[in-house]
Amino acid sequence: MQTLNTTELNINPPLNHDPYLVIDNVSKAYPTPDGAYVVLNGINLTVHEGEFICLIGHSGCGKSTLLDMVSGFRKPTEGEVRLQTKRITEPGPDRMVVFQNYSLLPWMTAYENIYLGVKSVFPDKPEAEKRAIVRDHLALVGLSDAADKKPKELSGGMKQRVCIARALALRPQVLILDEPFGALDPITREELQEELLKIWTDHRVTVLMITHDIDEALFLGDRLVMMTNGPAAQIGEILNIPFPRPRNRTRLMEDPHYYDLRNHALDFLYRRFAHDDA
């Protein structure tokens, strides 16, 4: 495993040097009629509190599988994932997920979708406070006016905002995003990237995000985890993204180092681990 040694350039020191989220020698195999199909093989990753980690790799290499083991929807075949030294065994609101395809309940309004989670996770809070949490988080993503709209009345970007609001309203320790902006048009995607970055700066939640977009990863992340191709995919390389924060997209683009990193990542994805059919 090659690691680009840019740690000394990192101007975003973690809040806390203790490991926060640890993916410890995790392998995952799915049973198939012709024997076990190994998707991931020996994944190790240590994430610090408040870090923004981006995950990139070709389709089918096992990115969703890996994050599903952090969220607890799937169990590792070998190894374990720990959050603050506690082994993860099942899903829970401390690791909220923004799913690949929105997953809002269509018969509930934006408000009700968020409220459902708030009520379930904070059953002891007074009613007024629960309502305030929902309203604050709708405001956070700029959707106060759409509170009473059902998902089918919302655009893709708005739906994804509601999902982010629902996740953050529960004060998760880790926010897991599986290609959250993949289905959005480029303008909306950039808007939401900036919103997410602002929210992350204010909340300092630990983020794990899958993306297919190198520029998105370089704009948002502290580190970019690049995966090799499956089967038996591994972490091929971890790229430190040392740009100072708050980040500005235009200024970032002017930084010569930006293109070094970008080319390095492109080289990894399209030359060293080019997809078979690419």
Partner: protein, 279 residues
């Protein structure tokens, strides 16, 4: 309809013509088909050696039944309204029981793979048993006519309700279940906020098939059980060779069946969440 047209003076003469034309397109075909049917019926039953009454004869012979559905001379000698009403009461009871038990069992086998594996094969076999085949068993079990009739309705209507409800539960998108898991929703919360809204269109598909079957079953069940009821009325008419009465009763049965179906559709419209409606 005229009132609606008056209320919108903007509509000009041409609109009126085209609207009447549209109405006609909907109304003419069934009217013509009915007319042709009556003519064929009349022609065939007028042939020498015909065994069934002509439509005109039928109306003549049953005129009393048609114009006076509410008479009550005691015993079985009651107007068609009372006959249908008695049958509907039985259906209401048997069908309501089938709905409650069916939805409950459907949810049970839909949520539990173990229960599904255990019970689905049994259900698949039992659901093909015709209503009349249940009657002797239920008569033997209940020893009484009325509970037996209700049981036959119950057992006939329950299968599509169970099977569709279970299917609905199994079709709940994985995404919704994942949301429930990550939010750690309580069982009640999951039931009312996710399972029910997601399943209710399937439940109503089952309920709609069920109501049709229960109405089919009542006629069969009453034929053998006797007493007041549209089913026995038909059987009784056959035994006393009142063929015209049978024909009128059949028309009643058909119309009431249609009405029941419509009723369930209306309830579905009220209950099924807007987002879950098909089409």
């Amino acid at each position: 309809m005229t009132a609606r047209l008056d209320a919108r003076p903007k509509r000009n003469h041409q609109d009126l013509v085209s609207m009447l034309g549209k109405q006609a397109k909907v109304l003419y075909p069934p009217a013509i088909a009915l007319l042709i049917f009556l003519v064929i019926w009349q022609v065939f039953t007028s042939l020498p050696g015909a065994t069934l009454p002509t439509p005109i004869q039928t109306v003549e012979e049953t005129w009393e039944l048609i114009v006076n559905p509410f008479f009550d001379n005691g015993g079985n000698d009651k107007g068609l309204f009372w006959q249908v009403f008695t049958s509907l009461q039985r259906v209401a009871l048997g069908y309501t029981l089938a709905a409650i038990v069916g939805i409950g069992l459907g949810i049970l086998i839909g949520t539990s793979t173990f229960m599904f594996r255990a019970l689905d094969p049994i259900f698949q076999v039992l659901r093909t048993v015709p209503p009349l085949a249940w009657l002797p068993i239920s008569l033997a079990a209940f020893q009484q006519a009325n509970p037996s009739a209700i049981f036959v309705i119950f057992i006939t209507a329950i299968w599509p309700i169970i099977i569709n409800t279970a299917e609905g539960v199994r079709q709940i998108p994985q995404d919704y279940n994942n949301v429930a898991r990550v939010l750690r929703l309580s069982r009640t919360e999951y039931f009312f906020k996710i399972l029910m809204p997601a399943t209710v269109p399937y439940i109503f598909t089952g309920l709609k098939i069920g109501i049709g079957l229960s109405w089919l079953a009542i006629v069969a069940a009453e034929m053998l059980i006797g007493g007041v009821g549209i089913g026995f009325f038909i059987w009784d008419a056959w035994n006393s060779s009142r063929i015209s009465d049978i024909i009128i009763a059949i028309i009643y049965v058909g119309l009431v069946g249609l009405l029941l179906d419509w009723l369930i559709s209306q309830i579905a419209k009220l209950v099924v969440p807007e987002e879950q409606k098909q089409g």
